[in-house]
């Protein structure tokens, strides 16, 4: 069975169905059902995935697409792609459920009513593309998904977003197109220089030997990914886009789309251009560490919840990039796990912030206060989500952050120590936001708040449960990720880390 093609086809067909349905409510239900089917299929596929398999990309399908240029419809997953696809498949139904009224024109600060059917159809189209971008094993196909993803997101921000939605949507698009164009040039140059007459990723590994060429091509890919992720200093589009997007779209934007950037660094930059990656490592690590500290400091100073969460993500993307470029097994696995956990964590934060905004009609932190007293469940889940943002042990985000820092310390001690200061800054931005919104005397405007309703609990519950379960038991995910990271690093030819004690022993023998 062509698993990956099915995973993409189902949401596309679902989107067609949703846009044909006349009744808004039915459209939502269909969208939810379709996304649940995709989730179920993903779960089945994941159980059939064999981490120990010698075959690197499983569930592979390769068909000629443009034979003249060696472009293929090539899909397949290793452990890294699998967990990211699973993240996407999980977040979409949650986002659909959370966005139930986002296009209705209800709620305290909703934009005017827009087409409900279009919104949910866009969500499903986006889901297909998110799966495609992680599944693509053909570089050109990857590029196509990379760019095409922008379109549904552009409309979701531009039509369904907040007051400054047009500005934010265009800014998002311009940044992404700028990065995308650089990548396109690099993709084509890669094809030309490699002289393999194919865009298939596995065949392109090791194809570029000349260090100079590697560096130029690396830059083309890397800048595109750095804008996408986004890495400091390419980040300024994200706070606007995330703050203006509806909460659900913001989750997919920050939780999944941005991961394409860090995923791309790990998959394409490292493996296709190993020498250039090593050459640029000091630069990337500096950018990452600056981003960690800078994003956190700017987050502390935010007065708007959604912008604050966006800046925390910039800090977190710094951690991921640090983990990718530290090029140790622990850091790489940690960075991959971080991509998934960050989706749970930021997803929960954005969605609960969205519930608050739906009630109050404002995303300004100062407009809240004392919510704990009137909506204890809402406050409690917000706290757990927040604690996952500061990587509290017992929640899954801790495992990934610990592994990234530990793995980076194996090779870059100073960078890891500076990055670790993020744990203090994270405590400040999260707990201060929590205190200002949830603690203290109940603000007048908050008094009428209801607690989370059943639908909202179904949105938050799974995310909180996953954060806790994988916090204590990350093994199932790491067992899938570890072999894939090993494989990736083996293409880069780095000496693996050995503890000083073992090293001495080895030398003695």
């Amino acid at each position: 069975m062509p698993w990956l093609s099915t995973l993409m086809a189902v949401p596309v067909l679902g989107a067609v169905g949703v846009s044909l349905v006349k009744n808004d409510k039915l459209a939502k239900q269909v969208a939810l059902a379709v996304s649940l089917v995709v989730l179920a299929l993903t779960v089945v596929m994941a159980t059939r995935f064999d981490p120990a398999s010698a075959e690197r990309f499983q569930f592979a399908e390769v068909h000629q697409w443009i034979p003249r240029f060696g472009v293929h419809y090539g899909v397949g997953v290793d452990g890294i792609a699998l967990v990211l696809i699973a993240l996407s498949a999980l977040l979409v139904p949650i986002v659909i459920l959370a966005s139930w009224h986002d296009a209705d024109g209800t709620g305290a600060a909703a934009p005017p009513k827009r087409s409900v059917r279009t919104y949910f159809a866009l969500l499903l189209v986006l889901e297909a593309m998110m799966i495609g971008v992680f599944a693509a094993t053909d570089v050109f196909l990857f590029y196509v998904f990379f760019e095409a993803m922008l379109i549904p997101m552009y409309f979701m921000i531009g039509s369904y977003g907040g007051v400054q939605r047009s500005y934010a949507a265009v800014k998002f698009l311009l940044y992404s197109l700028f990065g995308g164009l650089l990548m396109l040039v690099a993709v084509i140059a890669l094809y030309v220089v490699a002289e393999k007459n194919t865009f298939m990723f596995p065949e392109l590994i090791g194809a570029i030997q000349d260090p100079g060429t590697q560096k130029w091509l690396f830059l083309g890919f890397f800048i595109a990914f750095a804008v996408k992720a986004p890495l400091w200093p390419f980040h300024t589009w994200l706070p606007d886009a995330a703050a203006q997007a509806p909460a659900g779209a913001a989750v997919l934007l920050v939780g999944v789309l941005d991961k394409v950037g860090t995923y791309g660094m790990l998959r394409f930059c490292l493996e296709l251009f190993p020498e250039a990656s090593k050459f640029f490592t000091p630069l990337v690590i500096v950018l990452a560490v600056v981003g960690i500290v800078y994003g956190a400091i700017v987050a502390i100073g935010q007065t708007d919840m959604k912008r604050l969460i966006a800046y925390t993500s910039i800090s977190h993307f710094g951690f991921i990039a640090l983990g990718v470029f530290a090029m140790t097994k622990d850091a790489g696995a940690g960075a991959t796990l971080y991509m998934v956990n960050h989706g749970f964590s930021t997803g929960a934060l954005f969605l609960i912030a969205g519930f608050l905004i739906y009630r109050r009609g404002s995303s300004r932190i100062a407009d809240y206060g004392g919510v704990q007293k009137v909506s204890p469940v809402l406050a409690g889940t917000f706290l757990i989500a927040g604690l996952s943002g500061l990587s509290l042990p017992g929640l899954s985000t801790f495992v990934s952050e610990f592994m990234v820092l530990m793995g980076s310390y194996e090779r870059y001690k100073v960078a890891a120590i500076i990055a670790a200061s993020g744990v203090v800054l994270a405590a400040i931005y999260i707990l201060w936001m929590y205190q200002r919104t949830m603690n203290g005397p109940t603000a007048e405007s908050v008094k009428g708040f209801t607690d989370l309703n059943a639908r909202e609990r179904w949105v938050v519950g799974p995310l909180v449960a996953l954060l806790i379960v994988f916090g204590f038991f990350p093994k199932p995910m790491l067992d899938v990720i570890n072999p894939a990271v090993d494989k990736t690093l083996s293409s880069v030819h780095v000496t693996p880390f050995t503890p000083a004690v073992a090293e001495k022993k080895g030398a003695g023998q």
Binding site: V170, K171, I300, F398, E410
Partner: protein, 642 residues
């Protein structure tokens, strides 16, 4: 000197299921939090039962451990693979960890029971008990884990419980701020602990205690893979973590504010157990500290500085809980001093930690009983003469008082004296400073007792004090029994030192504790304590206590303001931090974004004005797409014709 014994892998028996100690209270917390209001009626009972159940398991495991020969009293229990290739979850039952487990579950259960009464009028009592259960579970993980990573999970877990409980009355802005402050200051310590762990990992490739014993450290140093500088750094970084958790200088400032939490919390977390975790960490990491004399010296200096600072703060506080908090800081300073003195010191430090757990919990709960009677008044200037109306509270408090000042034959006498004597052997300056601290303790604790239970009644008009219900007084009585006899039991005949030996080692020469020592140091200590108590009597017992605090000398103000610790933090970190934040936000909005907006607008063919992007976007969009498409087509054509 005798080294710690080897760690064995255990299966079966009670020790095999010692994870129940953690699981049961964790289950309690989960049921109460998820169950919501439905569990309000019986939630507090479930909390108590789960804590008591953990105590029962701890006692049974203790008995089983005692049944083993001394050379096998370190039993590791594997649980599951936590982070593959990095660390497994597992427990280590040895004399050190089981001592803590008994203290945590024993004193913890008494405080749970007491809280039934203390929190009976609070609408959120169930939530309170769920947090208490969560705390017990996390604290047990901290001390029982057989590796540093599990310890760290518990370490931050107790930090979370502490945060939740300090801020339990979160609708009070002061409580919310205090909770946040405690967490953030602790995270500064955790930062140090994290770097220590990374360094340990980079040298040893393991977090398990069994791979990080004295032998492993010595081998690594002999083999050249662990330098003296690195091991000293590990020690100092671990100490930074310990300072955060245990409110030692320079990370002490959060503990006084933490008194915003309900009093049982102050007793359990901020006196008896959590704040002593730093001492546990230093003792558990003895292998590193013993290889790093410089780090050990710094531990003792931090201990002495804090024991004096806490005592000085305690001398000036009128708030009974803050007075006790200063005292806690000071007593943990003693423990930290002991922890920096090698195996003899470890035994006295942990023994003092245990007796302190009893007498300080006893006094905190006593203070709670007084507050309960006085409409939550905490100002001792509005107390006075309470002995007559609440005899059980007063007598039990008095016993705790005698124990902490080191009155001969009571618990604190033996354990504190042991630390002072050991310190004296290492370094006379530190030793005499510790004696001075004892004198200060004599003063501030006597002051507290006189102001609260004796003298004229200075009560508020609406105060009608009465003795607390038996659910609160019975725990007081049980704790005061421990305050009387536990010290003698542990110290005489070096009973505790020998018990602890498998975990931390045994010195070549054992000290010779007397029932009543008549050495110079001991007598000098007693004399200073007596002088301190007498001075307190003249100022607060015999003389009238003004209801409004007099302005006080420079020294008094210095002590009242917590030795300007907060002022220092604000000047050094908070205000510069706020400026940095503001500058960064401004820079981000205007600098980077402004530049890029200008650039984008330029590329889009519109003018460089930032505002233009908002109006000229359609054109920019179209141009970009066009440009992109052109490149693709051009490239494909080029390739196609090759």
């Amino acid at each position: 000197m005798q080294s710690p014994v080897e760690i064995f892998q255990h299966s079966g028996g009670v020790i095999g299921v010692s994870w129940l100690m953690i699981a049961l209270p964790l289950l309690g917390a989960a049921v109460l939090l998820l169950g919501g209001r439905r569990t309000d009626r019986w939630g507090h009972l479930l909390g108590v039962v789960m804590s008591l159940a953990a105590f029962v398991v701890a006692v049974a495991a203790f008995v089983e451990l005692l049944g083993l020969p001394a050379g096998e009293r370190r039993q590791a229990v594997g649980l599951y693979e936590f982070i593959p290739g990095v660390a497994d979850m597992g427990l280590l039952i040895d004399p050190l960890s089981i001592s803590f487990a008994l203290l945590i579950t024993g004193v913890g259960s008494l405080i749970h029971i007491y809280s039934i009464g203390y929190m009976s009028h609070d609408p959120d009592r169930r939530r309170f008990f769920s947090y208490l259960n969560l705390f017990v579970a996390a604290m047990l993980l901290l001390v029982l884990s057989d590796n540093y990573l599990g310890l760290f999970v518990g370490w931050e877990g107790v930090g979370l419980a502490s945060y939740l409980l300090i801020g339990f009355w979160q609708f009070k802005p002061t409580a919310a701020t205090a909770a946040k402050k405690a967490f953030i200051v602790n995270r500064v310590g955790d930062f140090g602990l994290l770097i220590a762990l990374f360094t340990i990992w980079s040298v040893f490739g393991s977090f398990a205690y069994k791979n990080l014993g004295a032998g492993a450290v010595q081998d690594a140093m002999a083999g050249g893979s662990l330098s003296q500088g690195t091991v000293t750094a590990i020690g100092l970084l671990l100490l930074l973590g310990a300072c955060g958790k245990s409110a030692q200088l320079p990370l002490q400032s959060w503990l006084l504010d933490a008194m915003e939490g309900p009093t049982p919390v102050s007793a359990l977390i901020h006196a008896a157990t959590m704040v002593t975790a730093g001492v546990y960490l230093v003792v558990r990491s003895g292998a590193f500290f013993e290889a790093a004399p410089t780090a050990q010296l710094v531990v003792t200096i931090v201990g002495v500085a804090t024991l004096l600072a806490g005592a000085i703060i305690g001398c000036a506080k009128d708030d009974i809980k803050k007075g006790l908090a200063g005292s806690t800081m000071s007593q943990i300073g003693y423990m930290m001093l002991g922890a920096g003195l090698g195996p003899v010191g470890y035994a006295f430090a942990i023994a003092h930690l245990i007796t302190h757990g009893f007498f300080k919990a006893n006094m905190f709960l006593g203070a709670g009983s007084v507050m309960h009677a006085m409409n939550d008044e905490v100002n001792m200037r509005r107390y006075g003469g309470l002995f007559a109306v609440m005899k059980i509270t007063a007598v039990t408090f008095f016993i705790g008082y005698l124990a902490i000042i080191g009155f001969p034959l009571l618990s604190g006498y033996y354990t504190k004296e042991g630390i002072i004597e050991t310190a004296m052997e290492h370094n006379e300056i530190l030793g005499w400073l510790a004696v001075l601290g004892a004198g200060l303790t004599g003063f501030y604790m006597s002051r507290m007792v006189f102001m609260t239970f004796f003298g004229k009644r200075r009560w508020a008009d609406d105060a009608h004090p009465h003795e607390s219900p038996s659910v609160m007084t019975v725990p007081l009585v049980l704790l005061s029994i421990g305050s009387i006899g536990l010290g003698a039991y542990l110290i005489l005949g070096n009973r505790f030192m020998k018990f602890l030996a498998p975990a931390v080692g045994l010195p070549a020469e054992l000290p010779e504790p007397h029932i009543f020592g008549v050495g110079t140091v001991g007598l000098a200590t007693l004399a200073l304590v007596a002088i301190g108590a007498a001075f307190a009597w003249f100022r607060y017992g015999a003389a009238e206590v003004p209801e409004v605090a007099p302005r006080g000398s420079f020294l008094t103000v210095f002590a009242r303001r917590d030795l300007y610790g907060d002022a220092l933090n604000e000047a050094l970190f908070m205000r510069p931090g706020q400026w940095l934040t503001r500058i960064a936000v401004f820079f981000d909005n205007r600098g980077i974004d402004g530049l890029v907006n200008g650039l984008a607008a330029g590329i889009g063919g519109t003018s460089g004005r930032v505002r233009r992007i908002q109006t000229g976007y359609v054109r920019s969009y179209a141009l970009s797409i066009l440009f992109g498409a052109a490149v693709v087509v051009g490239a494909l054509l080029y390739v196609g014709t090759m």
